[in-house]
Symmetry: C2
Subunit: 187 residues, 2 copies
């Protein structure tokens, strides 16, 4: 169902997502997650602060991949070109997690607290991207505007990707969302 | 210092902001806020759920003004033109609250929990704007992209406005931020 490698953290994530999906996020305890994964609560807490963080354990890899894409662009790339250079690595990361992402999206969409957490994580990501742009010499406002544009495009594409059936469509959906943003801001 | 009208809610907001600024947000209690305003705790809780909400009491007016601006645009306005039609009413609202907004910004910037709340409020605002656009017949993605663009422009302009000394500069700063966003997305 998901293709997480069978390390402890990956097993805990898979167990948590399955339990949240089966019996609801609120009703699921850390003890149940650990048991389903065949691990102890102690092991759980070595990897995650609480059950909520299990759902956001991909955010570090997302940020790392995105920033790697930015770092690989030529110094004279425009701010938005630098931001969108992260799209390849991001799409690649998600492609093999489509079933997981769909279940996760259902869980998050059903819970206002998780939706808020998701927004905070996205804004934290936007902040890191803006910081990376500033370190390339992009001015403060342009860095914020370009990073927000990139994260919004990502967010819109992500919602479309989990709502359709083709795991490989994400990269294309990001391009389409970017074109739509260009259309919206230039119209 | 601030120009809130001397109604109970306004007095509580002014008292809270002054106390947060003087002795810190965490150290300030609802009892102290009520006392400073010459009111009871009971009156406080008739107006606000907790001391945090005092800082976000302007968000309803902000949304109302913004949506009024959108509603007043012709049906054939582009999505972004509709969104930016809210800027006049928004700038007008803040113009007479510059001293207040600066103190508030200092308090929020010093507290991660308040920063998170601010982001949530902005995203809620973006959601309401997107909803208003959809009701005008704008397609889902264009509505999200245009509303996010508008809120980002607002956010960038707001940060610049509280960092400078001219209360009347907000409207102009919004135009400049919008031009910068256009520059970023078309470059």
């Amino acid at each position: 169902m998901t293709r997480w490698k069978p390390d402890a953290a990956g097993r805990l994530v898979a167990a948590a997502i399955a339990l949240f999906d089966e019996q609801g996020y609120d009703a699921t305890t850390v003890a149940e997650i650990a048991e389903r994964a065949g691990l102890t609560k102690r092991t759980f807490f070595r990897h995650f602060a609480d059950k909520r963080e299990v759902l956001f354990s991909g955010s570090e890899e997302l940020e790392r991949r995105w920033l790697q894409g930015i770092a690989a662009t030529p110094a004279d790339a425009t701010p938005l070109a630098a931001v969108t250079a992260g799209f390849d690595g991001v799409a690649e990361m998600f492609e093999e997690r489509h079933a997981f992402a769909r279940m996760r999206a259902r869980i998050v969409d059903a819970n206002p607290e998780l939706q808020e957490r998701e927004l905070i994580k996205l804004q934290t990501l936007a902040g890191s991207i803006a910081q990376a742009l500033r370190e390339r010499g992009v001015l403060h406002n342009a860095a914020i505007l370009a990073s927000q544009a990139g994260v919004t495009v990502f967010h819109v594409a992500f919602a479309r990707w989990v709502a359709q059936d083709d795991p490989s469509a994400f990269r294309q959906l990001m391009d389409e969302s970017l074109a739509e943003l260009r259309g919206v801001t230039t119209a």
